[in-house]
């Protein structure tokens, strides 16, 4: 499934009033890019540049102020067609792992036997079959994220949107989940749009890495990465690309944020 953003912009009025246009905050401006069918696209940018708003627009949770988001040529008008994974797993604490994965199918009205079978299939994919009857609070952070991924995939979404999904995990777990995510991607051939502030993560995973500027959020540059997977973070070819991307974003921060603590922000991006 391909996703096309055409001149998409998003404004929020301050104090909730839509009257005074001058007071509006331009969160996103003139966003144009395409995600091809089956492509793995990563987006990196400084904090507060509108990455999450962009995800919400593609997910249909919010609508653009101007421009269009097209999925297979059809404009997006509401949520429900794509899977979404957040930084926090946002699992339902009153349901078991199995119940969480079945949730969307149950809402859609699928009969119990069928949805149990389907949930089991996806739990196997994320290596959590043994934990089907556990409750979320009994799982580690990495396991919770795997449940969230299974819960999103079981709906057979056209595209999987991931909003800094591994941001809260330790480096070891993150690397493991990178491998798993790539396996799942190769197996299911889903289109994936992955937002992160971690440049290394973006280069290890994506076919394409987009960088974003802040206030207003614009797509700055795109980097195609043709290296075969699995990639090592320390691969010299990858490091060259990482440096170029970092440079690109750092100059952005220097331009936009004058009075804030630079070292802090640069450190955060690396």
């Amino acid at each position: 499934m391909s996703v096309v953003l055409e001149k998409v912009s998003k404004r929020f009025s301050q104090n909730g009033s839509a009257v005074d246009v001058l007071e509006d905050v331009h969160v996103l401006e003139e966003i144009n890019f395409t995600i091809d069918d089956g492509e793995f696209v990563c987006l990196v940018g400084p904090s507060g540049c509108g990455k999450s708003t962009l995800i919400n627009l593609i997910a249909g949770l919010e609508l653009p102020s101007t421009g269009r988001v097209l999925v297979d040529g059809v404009p997006v008008t509401g949520p429900g067609y794509c899977g979404l994974v957040f930084q926090e797993a946002a699992l339902f604490p009153w349901l078991t792992v199995q119940g969480n994965v079945e949730f969307g199918l149950r809402i859609a009205g699928m009969p119990p036997a069928q949805r149990r079978e389907k949930a089991a299939e996806y739990l196997k994919m994320v290596h959590l079959s043994r934990f089907a009857s556990a409750y979320p609070h009994q799982l580690s952070g990495g396991m919770k994220q795997r449940v969230a991924i299974a819960r999103a995939l079981v709906m057979d979404p056209k595209i999987l949107l991931m909003d800094e999904p591994f941001g809260a995990l330790d480096a070891q777990t993150r690397r493991l989940l990178h491998e798993e995510l790539l396996e799942i991607w190769q197996e299911t051939r889903k289109t994936i749009f992955f937002v992160t502030h971690n440049v290394r993560e973006a280069t290890v995973l994506g076919d394409k890495v987009l960088t974003m500027s802040a206030r207003p959020g614009r797509i700055k540059k795109g980097y195609a990465i043709h290296l075969p997977r699995p990639r090592r973070e320390s691969d010299p070819h990858l490091i060259v690309i990482q440096q170029r991307i970092l440079l690109n974003i750092q100059e952005e921060i220097a331009k936009v944020v004058k009075d804030e603590d630079m070292d802090y922000l640069v450190g955060k991006i690396q």
């Binding site: 949770l61 429900g80 979404l84 339902f92 009153w94 009994q138 999103a152």
Partner: protein, 250 residues
């Protein structure tokens, strides 16, 4: 968890009973705890006492059921519809500010000195706390969970029943638990003031008029025990533990 003799919880009781025994020895007006204990056992086997107790429990059951049904439904509505909360929210806090016992005189005026007045007292004394807890529970559902549910195709009433209500359940149960305690107090207040109804309140009034301190204390112990049983066993053990394992709030 290993079952162990939890002496820290027992110790205050031992002190209380020990202290009581000493006071009873020094001051003949105070009956000894052993005497009270035997009276409690006698009462629990006494037919007329049990009818009175059954009458009280019946009123509590009717009143409390009404509190649960009305309180939870009103709370869900107030939590769901902002305008309804704007309209009725202050009314509910006013209701909560009233002690249950303060409704008894009005209840007598409206219904006469009968069961209806007692149930009315329970209803007005305990519903507010359920409404408040339920509506806050509904409003405090984490927005992230709602967004997750939306992307999986849930909306409208489905999101309400499948996400918001289960997410609010621990808060709702908290409200019901408090309402039990409030209702129990309101019941006693009602029965003490309307002594023509056959119930615990009437018995207490009788023995108090006879200056029968022993029996009076025995009744009070029984009332406390029933309250503790419902709170400790039903709300804490049966419902609370199950909620805590599921929601992971231990």
């Amino acid at each position: 968890m290993k079952k162990r003799w939890d002496w820290k919880r027992r110790l205050p009781w031992l002190w209380l009973i020990g202290g009581w025994m000493i006071v009873a020895l020094l001051w003949p007006k105070v009956p000894s705890p052993i005497h009270i204990f035997s009276l409690v056992v006698q009462d629990l086997a006494d037919r007329s006492f049990l009818t009175a107790l059954a009458g009280s429990m019946f009123r509590m059951a009717v009143g409390y059921t009404a509190v649960c049904v009305i309180g939870v439904s009103a709370g869900l509505l107030l939590g769901r519809f902002r305008w309804l909360d704007d309209l009725l929210g202050t009314l509910v806090s006013a209701l909560n500010a009233m002690p249950g016992a303060a409704w008894v005189p009005l209840a007598i005026v409206l219904f006469g000195p009968n069961q209806g007045a007692v149930i009315f007292t329970i209803l007005l004394g305990a519903t507010g706390i359920v409404v408040v807890n339920t509506s806050f529970g509904v409003r405090d559902v984490p927005p992230l969970i709602l967004r997750a549910a939306q992307t999986m195709g849930a909306k409208g009433t489905k999101i309400f029943w499948h996400v918001i209500v289960p997410a609010a359940t621990p808060r709702i149960v908290d409200g019901l638990r408090l309402a039990w305690a409030f209702g129990w107090r309101a019941l006693m207040a009602g029965e003490l003031l309307i002594s023509s109804i056959r119930g615990m309140g009437q018995l207490i009034n009788q023995v108090a008029r006879q200056r029968n301190t022993g029996q009076l204390l025995a009744f009070m112990v029984i009332i406390a025990l029933i309250g503790m049983f419902v709170d400790g066993v039903i709300f804490n053990r049966l419902i609370g533990d199950r909620l805590r394992t599921r929601w992971g709030t231990t």
